[in-house]
Amino acid sequence: MKLIIRIETWEKVKADMLEQIRLLLNDYTFQVVALGTGFLGLLSGVIGTYATLRKESLLGDALSHAALPGIGIGFILIQRKELSVLMLGAIISGLIATVIIQTMSRKTVVKLDSALSLILSSFFGLGLVILTSIQNNPNAQQAGLSNFIFGQASAMLRSNVQLIGLTGLVLLVLVALFWKEFKVFTFDPMFGRTLGFSSKIVESLLSTMIVVTIILGLESVGVILISALLTGPSVAARQWTNRLSLVMLLAAGIGFVSGVTGTFISSMGARIPTGPSIVVVVSMFVFLSLFISPGRGILARHMAYRKRQKVFMKQIRSLEE
């Protein structure tokens, strides 16, 4: 008797959950937001491939953290959560951080990685101070400003999604147009220069594209974790193929799935930030790929090694006989 009741409650829980999922999937707002984060993930996968191959993932991390004070100051200036102003603030403080990082590592004895982590934490600290002081001043408008730290996709408006879509489309077209230039400057920038292409144009285009992608993701993914969305998909994708175009396509797919799934997870529970849930999904792709991918995966390498060992041992033994 007891057992039957238990099964019934389990059935009920399951039915409730399925119903909730069904409702969520049919929810228009969720669809819009998931589409937004999905496309953002796709974009991060594509543009992030360049960032990881150029070994600039750490720079992306520093830039996104450095955007926080700009967001706070932007809000203080207009006392409203106007996305365009906040993004402008983010871009400006990101640029200031870049300039400081470059001068530090070029002109003085500070190594690049030290300069990066120094700027990352000091700008982020400043940003937290500014945001906290804003929250201490009562102003109804400030609600949701802290979303920029961990990201809250449900805060996205339809217009934000449109902005992501439009800007992303422009970036994808640029990737298609400048495919060969970006490829050679990512692999061997010095050689690219001797071919007669302007390194200024190509490299600044590439860095701008990376910065724009980061800025687009600030609200929905947050300053702390956006760089994980930028690097994760391409790192996972690299394990499965040796061709740049396929790495990029696969990274786009992984980014899209992570964006949608992460938003779904975050919408299921109350107040789960989107950034962390997206990044958890991305990380699963990364770890799975590191382990089980054929050829480059840890498991495959180990098995190949064992097999080789066996074959050679047999040969050696047959020689000894």
Partner: protein
């Protein structure tokens, strides 16, 4: 042989810091000749090449290029016509690309902005791989190459540029005898086609066999000219026995 200079350098002085690494270099590389640049470690050979190719800003001096119908033009006008293989490239060999992909990059300069390589470019790149002795490597991942094979891939990439001037910084370092012969034969063939080839070279034993002209460099130009005339024991001694970069520079 005609004595036209493909590259002429006048009063070139280059410094990384207070001490000049190159001092008042005036020299030239003749068109259609195979020229060796010779000097001890730290003499400034790589620096000379990098200044010629605008990677370094010289303090003073001019460098002018002359090819076919362009006379005395600066490097940026004819970048396309100059192929350069650096001494050590710090590229990421785990980059997702095949050997053919890399050689194909040599064609990018001819294609110009936006255009993609076509079948002709691919065929030509495969030919170049055949020339450097790696015909079966086209679809191999670049991470799976030995040091000498990498060097040959870069050589193939330079050949695919179909340039008029080839500048190679120690293309023979770290390659075996057989590969050395393959490379030198290729360079000789380029020169026979009227191209100009400049090679930084370290092995004094082979200079007479391999090269037409020689330039001795140790901070300054010590001697230069056709190998028969300039490659003398006196010049070698003078270039190698004064280690100018060890002590303080003499002004």
């Amino acid at each position: 042989m005609d004595d036209k200079q493909a590259i002429s350098i006048e009063h070139l002085t280059v410094a990384y810091d207070a001490r000049p690494v190159l001092w008042n270099i005036t020299t030239g590389f003749k068109e259609g000749r195979l020229t060796a640049i010779i000097g001890p470690n730290g003499a400034g050979k790589s620096t000379l090449i990098k200044s010629v190719l605008n990677f370094l800003q010289p303090i003073t001096g001019t460098v002018a290029f002359s090819i076919q119908n362009e006379q005395n033009v600066p490097y940026k006008k004819i970048k396309n016509k100059v192929a350069y293989v650096p001494q050590n490239t710090s590229v990421d060999w785990d980059f997702p690309a095949t050997v053919l992909d890399v050689v194909l990059m040599g064609r990018y300069g001819h294609l110009g902005w936006l255009k993609r390589p076509g079948k002709r470019d691919k065929d030509l790149s495969k030919q170049m791989l055949l020339k450097v002795g790696l015909p079966t490597f086209a679809s191999r991942q670049i991470s799976q190459l030995s040091g000498g094979q990498r060097q040959r891939v870069f050589l193939a990439r330079a050949l695919a540029q179909e340039a008029d001037i080839y500048i190679m910084d120690e293309p023979l370092s770290g390659v075996d005898m057989k590969t050395e012969r393959i490379i030198m034969k290729l360079l000789k063939k380029l020169v026979e086609q009227g191209k100009t080839v400049i090679v930084v070279h370290h092995d004094l034993q082979t200079v007479e066999d391999y090269f037409d002209d020689v330039v001795f460099i140790n901070r300054e130009v010590i001697a230069q000219g056709p190998v028969q005339e300039a490659f003398t024991q006196g010049n070698i001694d003078e270039t190698y026995h004064q280690d100018r970069n060890l002590g303080e520079g003499e002004g």
